[in-house]
Symmetry: C2
Subunit: 523 residues, 2 copies
């Protein structure tokens, strides 16, 4: 899924080249740094090559040790090329960088060979800031305490450094050999990463410190890679539309397509981009955490033993399921929850308002503290020793979330005077999104009733986009172009929005003609 | 003397501009840094404006304090403009920088108003590295000890910082208000200043670390001015032709002239540049310290009570003199020594080989430890209570120095197939040089017998050139052009050179036809 034809990988902005210099003589007494600059400029093929001061000091010793025959790594920014480091001549094709998806809950770092774009190693871990606050607003408020920002930044950096160091050790690379870094994340997370105060992000009129961070060096923020490695942080459109989405657009390639495409990143926020090569419109709205499986009593993040697929056996009418790693079930993740509720609806166990139908549920329906629960997995089959149940409030919450999602999709499409049927490709971003069965999501009325081939799960597009921007000059440039192109739609929760939302709170929708395929199954 | 018509002062590379931004709103929610970049770019009039990471962090707070109405200082290098700092809106015309002549014995720092080029304050002090070694070679060798380079750099920087802080205090400026720095010095001194190891400078094939230092920030080397202020160190041609001479050429303007000009910086080394707008040739040769007044038994640097002018009264035949500050004499400086020896020759007290003529010297001639001395100032008139005397070896040393100087001038002129008479302007650089009476120097045969109006004393051209490069983009650019234009003439002390040298060891010269004006006085 990381293969994107529209990005030219043979156009790196971080390069390693072989540089051979004539040894100084009385007749050719150019200084060491100027000698290196002259030869490296030629090897890189550019007229403006800068040598950082921290490297300058070491040049005479390094060049003499290598007998004026070396490899140099360099990067290009708006101002020209800058040397990163000098290496013994070995193999300019082995040059490494790190791409990072800087999620507020999960962070993924990927060690990439910049020469061919291949992933050497990848590691995913919880954002350590969750200790301070699971939601980002708590963390922003935490920054108002003295030293709070520094503490949050330090938490983040020390964990990232630990993971990077671990990856390097596993593949036998020294920190100096990692010569580039690219991070994609939401606006607040990139502020934490850069040590910038997000105070004004959550306060009207919601102003970030920076939209387009310039390239800095790893030393500036304390990343444990080559101290002069460039660190690229993808730009944001504003406080609520971050570099992770810019990365997503880049990874989807929708900004190069003729047809109208839609990109949805499903999470606590439903982040949506509509457009094509000519225009892009984005918006983000609260969808509620139900879609991530974070709310239901049995809900949890994907992991071993978590139910990710559900179906009802037509013969036995039993709830069947699949768990990750085929372990006894311990909970259900978002994709499983969507399957489950869709199946319950199709088999009549819930009605179009999502309410349990007691005569269909039978003895599966129990009451706990006066609240109706459906036993999905009896205690004797569960991995926890407890029954796994789905409550009426769980379903209500999912329905609100799916209604919010559908309303947002309807609103953004209407804003540009299109209908949902005009969407040629429906990209689903996010690791979680990849597991959703579009069929189930359509049954619930969460996504429009489009031909199944329209839906393209893309996986972690934030990481993919960061990887592309890391290895390709054109991709890096495109991030800024995408940013500048996006029209951000401020969602006004007005009467019209509320009307749409109310209509979407049915399964699949009040207007069943919008979901002909669902009507067909039901009949 | 600092007025140079050929440099456009209205073309600064360090600027302060007023920047007024619209306050952010929901409709205009551009990030603070991007808002500042947009407005400052417009005010400066350039398309590529970079905000350093260290400034980025403070931007939201600073802009809000100033209600988005501020002054910004920025500088331009090869890569575009970079912000230095944000100030309250006051007066963009008050913008300060420091120019420095980084001499191996004396350092001069000048506080300059960058807007109009005016000197606000100037201070001159001994190079503290003299404690480690008066001559530069001793200091280079000292760097081979562990920590030696760091120690020499620290010595230098702490003294410079002390002086800068003192100047700022006197005129009521904070360190942050000093937003630019330019240093001119010989190649080794600039290496010390930049913390670069000069190890290879004095070892064949004499390779500096860098010829054209890039602009760094004051923080990089620990200068006590605005931490993001650009520090420009003038380029060198090689180990023995430094930025002080590039500054000299710039200050003289000879690189803009039609006629053939000669620039001489008289010191321990005779540094000579010949040329005009089309070509430049430079060379440096040991002239011996005699010319600086550093060797003669009564010789010393210019200072209170030091004899700087000498003449022999035609009536009394007494040696008359002038001392600095009109104090009782304590010694003699270079210009005084040249006057003295010229007068002794003209009045027949020494012969054309510089040897004392006893019958002319009379009882002024005494012997100390078997060496002939001429009493210049008797003990009862001297400020030291001791007689001030000039010994035969003092004169011999001066004659070797002047012969070396004349030989170097002859050699460089012959190399380009010109004669000394082709020189239209003879610029004398250096504070010491300004005090030399060209008449006396001609009598000695130290400089060619040209019309007196040919000689132009320029004073401290290293400081003047540094000042010009500090305030003018064109001047900064010219330093590199001058550097690239210079052909460095390696002086071969071969038989021909030795022949010329021998011929020049007479007063004024073996070939008296070269000095018609002297012949005329004598006759």
């Amino acid at each position: 899924m990381t293969q994107q034809l529209h990005v030219d990988r043979n156009d790196p902005w971080v390069k390693k080249v072989l540089v051979q210099m004539p040894v100084p003589t009385l007749k050719d007494n150019t200084a060491d740094a100027d000698r290196l600059r002259r030869a490296a400029t030629k090897a890189i093929g550019d007229s403006n090559l800068s040598i950082p001061y921290s490297l300058l000091k070491d040049i005479p010793k390094r060049l003499r040790e290598l007998n004026y025959n070396c490899e140099v790594a360099a990067y290009e920014d708006d101002t020209g090329w800058t040397l990163i480091d000098i290496f013994p001549p070995r193999d300019p094709d082995t040059i490494y960088g790190i791409a990072m998806d800087l999620g507020s809950s999960t962070i993924v770092t990927r060690l990439v060979n910049l020469h061919n774009g291949e992933t050497v190693k990848e590691t995913s871990f919880h954002n350590p800031q969750v200790k301070v606050g699971a939601d980002i607003l708590t963390r922003i408020h935490y920054c108002s305490q003295p030293g709070g920002l520094e503490q949050l930044k330090e938490m983040l950096l020390s964990e990232i450094n630990k993971r990077i160091t671990g990856m390097c050790k596993e593949v036998g690379l020294g920190r100096n050999e990692i010569v580039a870094f690219c991070a994609a994340g939401n606006t607040t997370m990139t502020h934490f990463f850069l040590g910038l105060d997000p105070y004004w992000i959550c306060r009207e009129p919601y102003i970030p410190v920076v939209n387009r961070p310039e390239i800095i060096t790893s030393k500036d923020i304390g990343l444990c890679i080559n101290e002069r490695a460039p660190v690229l942080v993808l730009p944001n459109v504003g406080s609520y539309f971050g570099g992770d989405l810019i990365a997503g657009i880049l990874a989807s390639g929708m900004n190069h397509m003729d047809e109208v495409c839609l990109l949805v990143d499903v999470g606590t926020n439903a982040e949506v981009v509509l457009g094509n090569q000519d225009w892009l419109m984005g918006c983000a709205g609260a969808a509620g955490p139900a879609l991530e499986g974070g709310v239901a009593s049995m809900g949890m993040m994907a992991g071993p033993g978590v139910i990710d697929r559900v179906w009802i056996d037509p013969e036995t009418r039993e709830i069947e399921y699949h768990t990750i790693d085929d372990l006894p079930p311990v909970g259900i993740c978002g994709s499983g929850l969507i399957d489950l509720v869709a199946q319950l609806y199709l088999w009549g166990l819930i009605d179009l308002r999502g309410k349990f139908v007691p005569q269909k549920c039978g003895k599966r329906l129990i009451e706990i503290d006066g609240i109706k629960h459906l036993v999905v997995v009896p205690a004797d089959q569960s991995g926890t020793g407890q029954p796994l149940t789905l409550s009426q409030p769980d379903i209500d919450s999912l329905i609100r979330s799916k209604a919010a999602m559908y309303t947002i999709l309807t609103t953004i499409t209407k804003t540009v005077e299109l209908s949902l049927n005009d969407i040629s490709r429906f990209f689903i971003a996010g690791t979680f999104g990849s597991y959703i069965d579009p069929r189930s999501a359509i049954v619930l009325g969460m996504i429009p009733d489009l031909p199944l081939e329209t839906f393209v799960p893309l996986g972690n597009t934030s990481l993919q986009g960061a990887t592309l921007a890391l290895i390709s000059r054109q991709a890096r440039k495109e991030c800024l172009e995408i940013r500048d192109k996006i029209t951000y739609l401020e969602l006004n929760v007005n009467q019209e929005f509320m009307n749409l939302f109310s209509a979407a709170k049915f399964i699949p929708h009040t207007d069943k003609t919008l979901f002909p395929s669902v009507k067909q199954i039901e009949s």
